[in-house]
Amino acid sequence: MDLSLLVIQTLNGLQLGLLLFLVASGLTLVFGILDFVNLAHASLYMVGAFICATLTFALGNFLLAVLVALPITAAIGWAIERFVARPLYARDHLDHVLATFGLILVMETLAHMIWGPQGIAVPLPAWLNGQVALSETLVIPSFRLVIIGAGLAAAGGLFWLVNYTRLGMLIRAGASNRVMVGALGINIEMLFGLVFALGAALAGLAGMLVAPITEASIGMGNNVIITAFVVIIVGGIGSMKGAFIAALLIGLIDTLGRAFLDDLFKLFMSSAAAETSAPAISAMLIYIIMALVLAIRPQGLFPPKVR
């Protein structure tokens, strides 16, 4: 194992972590502020990818397609908040889970009807399809760097929004005590709609960024939603900082586990045994981390100060 491979794998882990953050941040916002369990968050990730894929072919440009698809996804998120989530706020979490699970089935079937079962491969402009050589041995696909850049920019923008704007102040206030925020004359319904739309746009962005690597396909959200829940549980539900750090942690652990666990196991077991056990253990690794965090700090690593 040489240094450049370690650097590449770290960048790969960072990329996965940032994608997870985009999904988890929306989830933690909605869960933390609206106290609403939204399993269908993953469907917004899928819808974002499909809309972006369609627009890429219609407009002939991937970046333009992303810019157009973002507000559309946000609007779909807003509509879901208005018509599905809002009537359920007063109910308990089990009802949220049932309703949003149903929503997943509805959205996947709709996607199946609109786009067919085969998924869409998203073409990239040539300058994004190549590789960037950071040094002699350090070559990584340029689009992976774009994902890292976009993820960091979104995280930075979110940090600014939450900490330094009036909307952010209301969001933080809503997370602490939404009854009081309502009592102070803030239109809490409007705020909730905005938060939901913001979460939808972030999840959609993650889907759009993933689509050129894998593809826009039905069920693509299932891959990511479980991991996103692991992230917000490890990070502390409702905490943006926690989601960011936990997402990077989970992304790195998962990638480095897949990359180096078999070499590590070969140090103390036969190579045949290592080959069989390493994939199984690396698939479990993030859940082991979650179990450990739950055992030691059940409130997560960075729980929000007031809940």
Binding site: L5, H112, P117, G130, I140, R144, I213, N223, E275, P279
Partner: protein
């Protein structure tokens, strides 16, 4: 009115029973999840076969009932149970996935039904778990990668990196390749598979590149294929790490890859037991009509499904219906039908004994991407597990 209809129906049913049987075929495949793209291709082929047959096997009526396995062994088993117990089918066929077939095996065979795999070929069922009532119109999993190992030896490839999904067929594919490949396997990654399969291969591709291997062997069927090929091209590995694949680049992934402009895949080498360009009457009719009806080339999944229906139809006709199971079994084993791969015969374990070809990805006369045969790698190949099967 009601009474007239039911009387007419009863009369029709009685008349039907007196003259000819209805052979019921249960077809288990994946119709949901992204893998439904394979299931749809198989379903299209079955519909085309039924159209070619006019829905009849001689004087007997054929009826196909489709069932979804949801890309999961437990769902596949439930679907098979329903076909066996509720629909009381005579044949259970289809099966893309080895782990689904292994899970559904007992339900079909213990229910006294004929089980015919149109794709999955797990080693267990070719070997110790072989059964007089189990047949295959595909291959045993190891065989296609074995042919690829032979191709690699001929091309002088000395070291190889392997990537495959971590499930029954993935392991068989790797075992098959290692059985014939004479060079060194410098690294191997088995990735997570199923409804939440791993589709981002950044870590594995970086390892493969760093390993310094002369080639990369992969097995990624269905939706994972497109994802893999894109990341392979984006990583710029075409020259340093040539791609050798089985069941990854096919008629399902090629149109999508062409639409997204992944030129690197042209010229890529694949091994397979069938090709749309095979020169025989049945295949020409199948490929031409499939293209006319569905607007794309059929995949090998489609070809094998078409063969499965044709095999069943021929056996039902030759056995004079579904009443006599022993006659039906003998007729299936004789495999006297026009297969799209030309000659077709079963070995002692009821797996096909057939040729394997090396194919290349090319653009056809209309500019559509497809494959053509480069050479024959194996002739009349018998799978390596036939000897373990107690049937003689």
């Amino acid at each position: 009115m009601k009474r007239t209809i039911s009387a007419a129906l009863a009369a029709a049913m009685l008349a039907g029973a007196a003259m000819a049987d209805t052979a019921k075929i249960g077809f288990v495949t994946t119709l949901t999840t992204p893998a439904a793209v394979i299931g749809n291709d198989m379903k299209n082929a079955v519909d085309l076969a039924m159209e070619h047959l006019g829905g009849k096997a001689g004087e007997h009526t054929l009826e196909v009932i489709f069932a979804d396995d949801g890309f999961a062994p437990d769902t596949g088993k439930q679907a098979t149970d329903k076909l066996v117990k509720q629909d009381n089918v005579d044949f259970v066929t289809g099966f893309i996935w080895s782990h689904v077939l292994l899970a559904a095996r007992k339900s079909a065979l213990d229910g006294g039904k004929f089980l015919i795999s149109a794709n999955a070929g797990p080693s267990q069922m070719a070997g110790q778990l072989c059964d007089p009532n189990f047949f295959s119109t595909s291959w045993q999993n190891d065989q296609t990668p074995m042919a690829m190992g032979e191709v690699l030896n001929r091309a002088g490839v000395k070291s190889l990196y392997i990537m495959a999904p971590n499930y029954a067929a993935g392991k068989d594919m790797v075992a098959g390749l290692e059985r014939t490949f004479a060079g060194e396997v410098v690294g191997k990654d088995l990735t997570k598979w199923g409804a939440d399969a791993q589709l981002d291969f950044s870590a594995e591709l970086a390892k493969a590149k760093a390993s310094g291997a002369q080639g990369l062997f992969v097995f990624y069927p269905g939706a994972a294929a497109g994802a893999f090929v894109k990341q392979y091209q984006q990583a710029g590995l075409k020259d340093s790490l040539p791609l050798y694949s089985v069941f990854t680049i096919d008629a399902i992934s090629l149109p999508k890859l062409q639409a997204a402009g992944f030129q690197d895949i042209l010229g890529s080498k694949i091994t397979q037991e069938w090709d749309p360009s095979l020169d025989n009457e049945a295949n020409k009719r199948f490929v031409t009509d499939f293209k006319a009806k569905y607007g794309s080339y059929p995949s090998f999944y489609a070809a094998q499904s078409y063969d499965a229906i044709m095999l069943i139809a021929a056996a039902v006709e030759q056995a004079g219906g579904t009443g006599d199971k022993d006659k039906l079994r003998a007729a299936l084993k004789a495999a006297d039908f026009a297969s799209v791969r030309g000659d077709f015969k079963f070995g002692t374990n009821n797996m096909p004994v057939q040729d394997f070809y090396l194919r290349e990805v090319v653009a056809d006369a209309d500019g559509n991407w497809t494959t053509k045969v480069v050479e024959t790698v194996y002739e009349d190949a018998v799978d390596p597990y036939a000897a373990e099967c107690p049937m003689k």
